[in-house]
Subunit: 348 residues, 2 copies
């Protein structure tokens, strides 16, 4: 029924060719700037050693919100990594068991799956390892032992069943490692793509002109030297390259983990995604204002001062990095009832 099939094919080839040519000649003024960054395009960050499954994520959500993972039963993971306040508390340093204080700021759990390693000093290799730390830390959830944590959780039949389903190939599914694995799997889904990602994927209108100008200022000033990639951060860098960062915190970053001089004051570069919401800033959480944090970074990392308009331009760009907390992350679980076997809360 097609009268001139040859002609149609030729025309099609010409159309595709002219479109390709036009695309190549269209100038994207931000093309070079975009090369420093990558968009979030996935629903979760998988881990071959701990594959993300719906069952594990649901179990992880429950454990993340369960205060019985703390000795006193007052604190859950969500206390210091509150999803309602963008994956962290709003305290400079956190308050834990018996009103003890943590040495550093909690940092956000949102998009943390993309970090090279976890904690400000990188002492945990991944989210699964990180999840174990606060549960046992006497300044945080203060559980007396891994065994005690397992005993609490294993006392509830619903949890036992969910561990079986979440770790079907394991002879002993309910272990301390798997408590952390489930929490890690849930945290691997806490990604917040937004306008910034749509911009990187080609939607020029996703950012305003001021925000795009801010991107230029940000990159041209050298900020993207450390704040780059998927989360504009996530690697490790010295804090205080040009001048020391003034702090009362005892933490010396990776040095505390490795003991190597070259790691002195080397900290994880906090993601700039959602940065307007993840104050207070720096490892000691001492700085509340984002514009002030920008000035401090210029001074101690880059060795110069921003003009007011440069500071404002970068601030405008940073606010464009706010994404959307996915709906499933904002769902509270209904937790199973304790039983006669559940070890009771211990506030002492």
């Amino acid at each position: 029924m097609i009268r001139y099939p040859g002609l149609i094919i030729v025309l099609s080839i010409l159309m595709v060719a002219s479109w390709a040519l036009a695309s190549e000649t269209t100038h994207d003024p931000y093309k070079e700037y975009k090369t420093h960054f990558q968009p979030i395009t996935e629903k979760y960050v998988d881990n071959p050693d701990n594959p993300v499954t719906p069952e594990k994520v649901e179990l992880g959500r429950m454990l993340f919100h369960d205060p019985r993972l703390s000795k006193s039963s007052l604190f859950s993971c969500n206390t210091c990594h509150n999803i309602a306040t963008w994956g962290m508390s709003k305290l400079p340093v956190d308050i834990g068991h018996k009103w003890r204080r943590t040495p550093v700021n909690s940092g956000t759990v949102l998009n943390a799956a993309y970090y090279e390693a976890q904690n400000w000093d990188g002492r945990a290799a991944d989210l699964e390892e990180q999840a174990k730390g606060p549960i046992l830390d006497p300044h945080e959830m203060a559980m007396p032992s891994e065994e005690f944590a397992v005993e609490r959780i294993a006392s509830m039949p619903e949890y036992v069943q969910r561990f079986k389903v979440s770790f079907p190939d394991e002879p002993e599914p309910l272990t301390f490692d798997n408590i952390a694995n489930a929490i890690g799997a849930f945290e691997r889904t806490l990604l917040t793509p937004g306008r910034w990602d749509r911009f990187l994927l080609g939607d020029d209108d996703a950012l305003t002109e001021d925000e795009k100008d801010g991107l230029k200022t940000f990159v041209d000033s050298g900020c993207s030297g450390c704040h780059d990639g998927l989360v504009l951060g996530g690697g490790f860098e010295m804090l205080g390259v040009v001048e020391p960062y003034e702090s009362e915190s005892p933490s010396r970053g990776r040095y505390d983990v490795t003991g190597k001089n070259e790691d002195m004051d080397v900290f994880k570069v906090h993601t700039l995604r959602n940065i307007e919401h993840t104050y207070p800033y720096f490892p000691d959480g001492a700085v509340w204002e984002l514009d002030k944090a920008i000035d401090i970074m210029a001074e101690i990392q880059l060795g110069f001062e921003f003009s007011d308009s440069e500071n404002k331009s970068i601030l405008t760009f940073l606010k464009a990095l706010t994404g959307e907390i996915p709906e499933h992350a904002l769902k509270l679980p209904v937790l199973p009832a304790s039983t006669k076997e559940t070890p009771r809360p211990d506030p002492d």
Copy 2:
């Protein structure tokens, strides 16, 4: 087109009449037992002085989950009335500011809108009044003053706007009273109808035979003398009618409020809805097991001992009182960012 309209009308009348007759003669063996109780049939419990509106409920949800309503910014309403654990903490008495302890157990916020008055001692007339207490209590959220609470919230433009929309007719929408009114409106939607309500509304199969037997044991023993109505509780009664309730708690119930001798050890009757999830029991939260709580009540309130089978029967009935937490109650809000004007957290 209808050949015999008269006949059809006559037949219809006969059918309706015979159905009505059959219904009347069908014996409902639980009819008398049901008269002690009422089902939840509404989505929320309105308050003419603080009408429940969607805007106010959404604002209330935000405030309910906002830790900035506590001096330290560690505690939100949800800390001690955790929706994930059935509207209360799982602590005998709660932990508040600087690890101080509350004198009594938190009690659940679920279905609390139906209570005659709030708190174990009834010191707050309604949910709106109750909401103010913990915010200012030095043992709980420890805000230094009403003004300070308003200052924190009013420092965030999104909150200011939401108060305007939620209280449109008021010249000054953002007040301490309206913080409590919004929280109260949210709490008025925290109702958990379930199988029990379907049973009361006529679905005989909503309860098992054992559960229905348990209802009989419950009523015949006299439990429904105090645990009746919409939430099987909610009024005020003396705890320890026959024998005193042994407790180390300093609370003497309504006597602490009124100073009247007749109010000594008179406490609010806690709802039995979701009772298997709202342990630990009694004003001091000293009893963890529901079967033990049943025995204590028989002994000190009714003056006799339940046989094992009676205890088990009542336990079976009580577990049938577990409802469903509505989906909207399990939604975490995304809270607005603090600003330069927001008073900082104070852990001291």
